[in-house]
Assembly symmetry: none
Homo-oligomer: 250 residues x 2
DNA sequence: TTTAATTCGATCAAAAATAATCATAAAAAA
DNA sequence: TTTTTTATGATTATTTTTGATCGAATTAAA
């Protein structure tokens, strides 16, 4: 019985009971207590479990895992429907930008098993995709705590170094006149990502279509595809401006 | 029977059983154990299987290496004592590097109320300092999921753009001969941060002092201050090399 | 607090597995 | 063909793994 196999067994028992005693393990695996003790020490050093006097505990019950949480829970159904449709366009081998909005965040759940590269400035996105098939490239720069995202000059320069096949971006408002953002930061970031992408998707639920906001940062020429649940004849206005509209129903 | 044929057979058996013993393989393929051993070594080097003592395992069966959160569970008392001492040296206005090791992570709790800038490649550090007085600059680049940190060429270039007054770094081992790391990534990162800092602190609990590891990546000239709980006359050896040793008791 | 019982870490020894060395056989190159 | 290189197996030295033992440290009980 090799160390690797014992480690497996130990983790299995740990998962089952939450905690285990050395005597119990020694009997179960059929090795001496000294060996079990050595195994536990090694595994604790590798962070696979938490060592206690006389045994071990599951790590999750001792230390809280790292987690960035995306709080924005508004209009989730619509956002999920939009993102599901958008995800259908993502194929293996794609390199995509995902911005730090609450809409684009919902995209994560649909792309976990795709073999793609994701470039993002959003900490919740990184956290969500950490244990997935996706390769993550995180934009560097100053961290904005309220948005849980990276912004600033360094960040935009970082974005400019990469080239993606698709960008999935949210906006604060979109009309035939152009794109609106809620802050300079958001605008700069959206713009930087869009400029480095072959195909720009705007993910935008119905509330924001036809609405303006604080800052108009670009006209519609930046956009290739608009994914929305806004089912209204007006969408033809966008199409005449050269934008493909993907309508979804909630 | 050529190597290629044997390799195929070995992978086949591995797929079937998940693990194999050398004796078993030698009998099955009808070659000596020495040859099997050589085959396994070669195949392991190419990442086709995981070598164990006495045999081999399927890669997927092997327990994932160091997950970062967990490693924080080892020797916490010593690490906290070390970090508390180190934090006493940090003053308002400082710009500091914090690396992605489990020791340096413990520093966060002591600096939350300081008016400083922290530059880091560690996601847990970012998470821990998100709601604090600290301004965070996150290194950008490829995300290493197991370490929950950012690494790669882009990351090291990002580091080179900044200049800090102090760097707080962990190592896998330190002797009078030099500094040791557990991987190329860790070494590159530590080195990059150290080179951009006016004063380099090595945070190192007693277990790692006097110990060597996988990779020696630099001599001691890189280091200015060693903070450790290693209370032994031998520390004078480091001091003769020009390093200030800050000893703490647990 | 003191005492007794565990548990731990260090050291040692035996067994197994590995790495290193060498000689031979097979294959490739000259 | 001869020479050189490569692959294999045998042999020996080294390393790793495991279990036993004992003093020190830790926990639980009195």
């Amino acid at each position: 019985m090799t160390f690797q196999k014992r480690a497996y067994k130990i983790l299995e028992l740990l998962e089952k009971f939450g905690e285990v005693e050395i005597r119990q393990l020694a009997a179960e695996i059929n090795v001496s207590e000294v060996t079990v003790r050595r195994d536990l020490t090694a595994m604790a050093a590798n962070g696979l479990l938490y060592r206690t006097h006389g045994g071990a505990m599951k790590i999750s019950e001792v230390i809280k895992p790292v987690s960035f949480v995306n709080k924005a829970g508004v209009n989730i159904k619509a956002k999920d429907a939009i993102c599901k449709r958008a995800a259908a366009d993502i194929i293996d081998g794609d390199v995509i930008f995902i911005d730090c909005g609450s809409t684009a965040f919902r995209l994560c759940q649909f792309i976990k098993n795709k073999k793609i590269k994701v470039i993002t400035n959003s900490l919740p996105v990184v956290n969500e995709l950490l244990d997935s098939a996706v390769t993550i490239n995180l934009i560097g720069g100053e961290v904005d705590a309220t948005r849980q995202a990276v912004h600033g000059t360094t960040a935009y320069e970082h974005i400019a170094r990469y080239r993606a096949s698709k960008a999935f971006l949210g906006v604060d408002g979109i009309t035939v006149e152009g794109l609106y953002a809620g802050s300079e930061h958001e605008a700069s970031n959206t713009l930087a990502m869009a400029l480095q992408s072959d195909c720009v998707y705007i993910l935008c639920d119905a509330r924001k279509v036809g609405k303006t906001s604080y800052l108009k940062f670009n006209d519609l020429s930046l956009v290739n595809i608009l994914v929305t649940d806004y089912n209204n004849p007006d969408v033809t206005e966008f199409e005449t401006k050269g934008i493909s509209v993907l309508s979804v129903t909630v």
